[in-house]
């Protein structure tokens, strides 16, 4: 589904790499977690693989399409939820979802049924015709999620998706992640919530200072009886002390 090979990214006006020589693969029908402290390089990696920011070295393949060379095909397979729930807030929720559906080429009937289905599922039916400007933080996050899923993407990418959401919405999103995975699609998300990552993910990547430290198979790790939280803190301990 997603192949990242030797990805390196250095921002303009920065003398160090935000992500360096990072390689990983996300398989079909898998939920993949990204763990790391603030500034570790999680968001930068996500922004590189979705095409938001350019990168100097490496290769990103989404469903076999190179994000640089064949970007339109690669992007057609991604649904992205940003960490800052940015949307065109002068539009209504329905207008925004319709716009995103149109942009991804979703046909009218499918579009209508998906908007209604997601709105009902994420308790957004009553808010759908209101201008997004009036939405709360959680509602904006939910409309972003609806817009990201409107074309039923093969790869659903979420950057810190559950911050500020109510417990019902969190449960709903977790359920949909599992459902999305069951349909043969993949989910990649970054989080600080180690408990949730451990419960939800098949595999977890731990990233620190732009380097991939380890990829953990959660089920196998759980069999060892160790705590993922302790393991994560141990792995990133030196840097935290610094």
């Amino acid at each position: 589904m997603l192949v990242i090979k030797n990805l390196s990214k250095k921002y303009k006006n920065s003398d160090r790499f935000s992500v360096q020589d990072l390689s990983l693969t996300v398989n079909d029908g898998e939920i993949f977690g990204f763990l790391g402290k603030n500034g570790a390089g999680k968001s930068t990696t996500i922004k590189c693989l979705t095409g938001i920011i350019p990168f100097e070295k490496g290769e990103v393949l989404v469903c076999g399409h190179d994000i640089k060379k064949d970007s339109i095909a690669a992007k057609s397979n991604i649904g992205y939820v940003p960490d800052d729930h940015a949307v065109y807030d002068s539009l209504t929720g329905r207008e925004y979802a319709t716009f995103m559906g149109n942009v991804y080429g979703v046909k009218r009937d499918v579009l209508e049924s998906r908007i209604n289905m997601f709105a009902s599922r994420f308790s957004m039916t009553n808010a759908l015709d209101k201008q997004i400007r009036s939405y709360s933080h959680g509602m904006k996050q939910k409309i972003c999620i609806i817009a990201a899923l409107i074309h039923n993407p093969n790869l659903w990418v979420l950057d810190e998706p559950l911050v500020g959401l109510d417990p019902q919405s969190i449960a709903e999103i977790k359920d949909y992640m599992i459902e999305h995975k069951k349909n043969g699609n993949s989910v990649l998300f970054s989080s600080h919530n180690i408990d949730m990552v451990e419960k939800l993910c098949d595999r977890v990547a731990i990233i620190n200072n732009g380097h991939l430290l380890e990829i953990i198979n959660v089920k196998q790790f759980q069999k060892s009886g160790k705590s993922l939280e302790e393991h994560f803190l141990n792995l990133t301990k030196d840097e935290i002390k610094e």
Partner: protein, 532 residues
């Protein structure tokens, strides 16, 4: 630093955020440029007011001049005060400030002081030099100059106090019309037309004095002005204080008025303001049930672009209002410039004048395209993740600007032809040639924004101040307007009018082609390099 000082500093800092995120030298340059710009505008104003003042003094109406000037300044302070007060007290308030351990009155007072200081700076820039000029012209004593400073400080107080009270019904009107986008667009267009018409009439009056070298009121006008001034009771108090007539009586009445208004403002702040503020933040949201339709990505983009411009008062004014009023502004300005120039140069210069004025006004509208990328703000990432090529996205933006600007050029030229400034054939040729110039200008403006978008200027999801790219776009537009206009005037005077058309096309067509190439060549790579 006391809590009140901290609050005032907070108001001053949050309301000058356009300098945010920039280096020291950039801020210094911007501040210096602002001072120079304000100085130039004030000088032009003083030059004009000096002439008007001369006419009044000559007609033995020096006192009437001070009264009418004070009245106009108070009216201006009131209008600007209501705009600022509504923004500072209601629409631009971060409610988190209410959670701080500071008194409500302190918060209100800091906001009030900010509104007053803003008006005071205006008073110091305009009223103070005008009064000094008046003093010199009418040979006032030293006492006049001593009384002048408190007058300048006092002049904005009553309008600001009134403005605070008036901000409540204004806020009510904003609530009613907030989501009536078409009504708002019409309202702003009418306000701009009215303001521009007043400006043109004042300019005509000044030019008339300047042109004839002498202007005097006839006896009936003098009588009417004197009668009018005698009814301006509040400004008369200021005139009396400044010129030492009934000094103590006038001062007492003025102070009493300030005290009454201050008491009303205090009661408003204590019992009404915060409940109104909370209710203003819980307004009914704009709601519209839309049918879900399937559109091609390009059409979906056009709709989205149009809605984001149309539903923002700020953007609709910056672009739609400016472009819609262009024909009227061009007509008035051409009339003034031609009145000044044709008696000495002849009517053959009119096409050149039309070119100068048209490009100048169109540049203001097209400068909006210099924020094509910047305006995306936090949503910029969306333009990167969607499966639509950057070329297609930029083409849509370019076409939207073109679809509004090109008709504005043709309508402006048609209006000028109907008013007999130019012939219909000239109008068609000029409009066609200028369409190329505008295509070039729009492409150049978008290219600048792609090269260096300025997302740091976005506040609360909207761009509320002009960016460096906007200024550069206007600067380039004005330069082209001056060069092409002057070349047009010279050519039509010394060679022939058709030679001017040739030069217009000779510049416009290559300019459009070069800028189109600059915009679209390797656009994908250049757009991809933009970082958020």
């Amino acid at each position: 630093m006391t809590k009140f000082q901290a609050l005032l500093k907070f108001e001053l800092m949050t309301n000058s955020s356009r300098y945010k995120g920039e280096g020291f030298f950039f801020r210094l340059r911007k501040i210096l440029l602002t001072i120079i710009g304000a100085g130039v505008l004030a000088s032009i104003f003083l030059f004009a007011i000096n002439m008007v003042m001369g006419v009044f003094v000559e007609a033995n109406m020096a006192h009437e001049f001070i009264t009418i000037f004070s009245a106009l300044m108070m009216l201006l302070h009131l209008i600007l005060g209501v705009i600022t007060a509504t923004k500072i007290l209601f629409t631009k308030v971060d409610l988190s400030i209410l959670k701080l351990p500071v008194g409500g009155i302190d918060i209100f007072l800091a906001k009030f002081l900010y509104v007053y200081l803003k008006q005071l700076s205006f008073s110091l820039l305009i009223s103070l030099p005008t009064f000094i000029l008046f003093g010199i012209k009418t040979m006032q004593t030293a006492l006049f100059y001593i009384l002048l400073l408190p007058n300048v400080l006092f002049l904005p107080i009553i309008p600001v106090l009134l403005a605070v009270l008036l901000s409540v019904p204004v806020m009510g009107l904003i609530r009613i019309f907030k989501n009536k986008f078409m009504i708002l667009l019409l309202f702003y267009t009418l306000v701009l037309i009215a303001g521009f018409t007043v400006y043109i009439y004042v300019l005509k009056f000044v030019l008339n004095i300047f042109e004839s070298g002498h202007f005097s009121f006839d006896s009936s006008t003098v009588y009417a002005i004197k009668q009018f001034a005698s009814y301006l009771h509040l400004p008369l108090l200021f005139k009396n204080i400044l010129l030492c007539y009934n000094y103590f009586k006038s001062l007492t009445i003025l102070l009493a008025l300030v005290l009454i208004l201050s008491a009303l403002v205090y009661l408003f702040a204590k019992y009404l303001y915060f409940s109104l503020l909370n209710s203003s933040k819980n307004q009914r949201a704009f709601s519209k049930r839309t049918k879900i339709k399937y559109h091609r990505p390009t059409t979906a983009f056009v709709q989205k672009e149009f809605k984001t411009i149309f539903r923002s008062t700020n953007y609709a004014f910056q672009y739609l209002t400016i472009v819609f009023t262009t024909p009227l502004m061009v007509y008035f300005s051409s009339e003034i410039v031609s009145n000044v120039s044709t008696p000495s140069l002849g009517s053959s210069v009119l096409p050149g004048i039309v070119v100068l004025v048209l490009i100048m006004f169109l540049s203001m509208g097209t400068s909006f395209s210099a924020t094509s990328i910047t305006r995306e703000g936090g949503n910029f990432f969306l333009t990167k993740i969607i499966p639509v090529s950057f070329t297609k996205q930029i083409t849509v933006k370019f076409l939207i600007y073109l679809l509004i600007s090109i008709p504005a050029i043709f309508v402006s030229c048609l209006v000028l032809a109907m008013a007999n400034f130019i012939t219909y054939s000239s109008a068609l040729i000029i409009a066609s040639a200028l369409s190329f110039v505008i295509i070039g200008s729009i492409c150049n403006s978008i290219s600048m924004d792609i090269k260096r978008p300025q997302f740091e200027y976005i506040e609360n999801g909207e761009l509320s101040s002009s960016t460096k790219n906007t200024s550069a776009s206007i600067g380039i537009g004005f330069t082209i307007s001056l060069v092409m206009g002057i070349a047009g005037i010279v050519l039509s005077l010394f060679v022939s009018v058709p030679s001017m058309y040739l030069v217009l096309f000779g510049f416009g067509v290559p300019f459009a082609l070069i800028e189109l190439f600059r915009l679209f060549y390797k656009l994908e790579q250049r757009y991809e390099r933009i970082e958020v």
